[in-house]
Symmetry: C2
Subunit: 288 residues, 2 copies
């Protein structure tokens, strides 16, 4: 098959005119747009055992999570597919489409290419219609530090704990939580897909502040030894939860499932129970 024949697999899934032009034509966008793009590929991003459907889902979910972290509604997604084997395409497309539909987004088009290593790049356009996108740089001393969900699930899945395999392979970006946290008055926000510890460093650095975290407040997996669960929560990546800061007055209107884990300080240090927390987490590295 060549790419025009493979398009016959994609076009019926996307529907409408998604495949018929050089571009997708979108409805007019009302509000402030945000845009994000994410590259995933086999060797670094798709653990062995992950299905093609899950790979398609994941490729969309990572970008929807970036849109969610600004408090935006995910609107339009494109997916560029560097395909190594044509028999993988159908499931990838369906996984991607289901993830879009689940989070109220439209899969509007993409590109298809032959590649030696399966490589997926999604790009998302989100919109904030009632206020401003939340940036990383707005945390102020005295703000509280919060997170959504329970950390360490993806890491548990990666370690082979079957109970958390789907958390690893089919992450649910926190779209509604992101919007609710923005509306509650969050001063800064980002997702913690690279890991909680490194994300705390990122957000505080962007804001020119520090923070003190309390170990006992970090929501960890209950079925692991406390020390192990904490390490997984702090340094395991792949949890598509949100990290944010908010004034203590505004915390009353935070959505359920969020935890306050510390407070922002003027001093630019990241402390956990009084000790420096290293900026460790997932990083790509070019010196293999």
């Amino acid at each position: 098959m060549d790419d025009r024949e493979l398009l016959d697999i994609i076009c019926p899934v996307l529907g409408g005119e998604a495949c018929s032009d050089d571009c997708a034509v979108l409805p007019e966008i009302k509000g402030i747009p945000v845009v994000s793009t994410d590259m995933l590929h086999e060797t670094t991003d798709f653990p062995s055992g992950m299905t093609n459907w899950q790979i398609g889902w994941m490729a969309i979910a990572v970008t929807i999570s970036d849109l969610a972290s600004m408090g935006a509604l995910p609107k339009y997604l494109t997916l560029a597919i560097g395909l190594d084997r044509e028999d993988r395409l159908n499931d990838i497309i369906h996984g991607a489409q289901e993830c879009c539909l689940k989070f109220g987004s439209q899969y509007v088009g993409g590109d298809l290419d032959a590649h030696t290593e399966l490589t997926l790049v999604s790009t998302g356009i989100g919109v904030v219609t009632d206020g401003k996108p939340v940036r990383r740089s707005g945390a102020r001393p005295g703000d509280l530090v919060g997170v959504t969900g329970i950390q360490g699930r993806a890491m548990a899945g990666l370690k082979g704990d079957r109970r958390y395999w789907r958390d690893l392979c089919e992450p649910s970006p926190r779209v509604l939580e992101g919007i609710a946290i923005r509306q509650a008055g969050a001063t800064s926000m980002m997702d913690i897909s690279d890991g909680l510890a490194i994300s705390v460093h990122d957000i505080m650095k962007a804001s020119g502040v520090g923070c003190e975290l309390s170990r006992s407040e970090i929501p960890c997996l209950p079925d692991y030894k406390p020390d192990e669960a904490l390490m997984m929560a702090l340094f395991g990546g792949g949890d598509f939860e949100l990290l944010f800061t908010i004034s203590s007055i505004d915390r009353q209107i935070l959505p359920k499932g969020t935890s306050i884990i510390g407070a922002v300080t003027e001093k630019q240090e990241i402390l956990l129970d009084g000790n420096l927390l290293p900026a460790e987490g997932y990083r790509h590295n070019w010196n293999h």
Copy 2:
């Protein structure tokens, strides 16, 4: 270096807040948005001898060409980079940035990943503020068929003709021409990056019509034998020119540098001087 250190190469080039959040925050978009994404990678898209700067330029130009083919103004570009060697990054970023600036676009962000094969995916958002994007599907019997520029230049470059090497490696998408052709009243349009012949098939199929082309009207390279020049014009890919249809009344207001090469017919056949023109051009193929 890891990706956070490499970002120190990217961020000063992009400027402003491009690297500081999970998303780029865009100004409000007035008009009809169009979006396109394109994947390029070393083995299939970057001929040997192409510089890293040219690779960055090319990665942006292909997507700007897609936006141009709708008659849209290219506004915002993202670039996801799967990088094989860190020393390539600086030149790639600068080539991408210069291409954005040349065509009035803003390079607003991207993603950076380690990859075994250099892989670049650009996504562009364009806008049409005064009318509607031109689709492939609007050609009507009786319309004229037109193209911009001279076909076959990229193919000549690929064959080793140094006079056309830059046409191959630093294509200039027809942004202003696309807008002018839309404003003149084009009924359909697309770019011919896959080749002229296959693009004629695509646009006529999308419109449910056929056409008769005249060999003598196709703008070919003057410094090749006529038969060879024609083959290069029809079946060589990589020329980022525009193919369009327009009513004969509107042809008077077409921009300079466009050629009328035929007319749209009701019968769904693509003819060149009365003979069937094969739908050949550049296609990816999964059965190597």
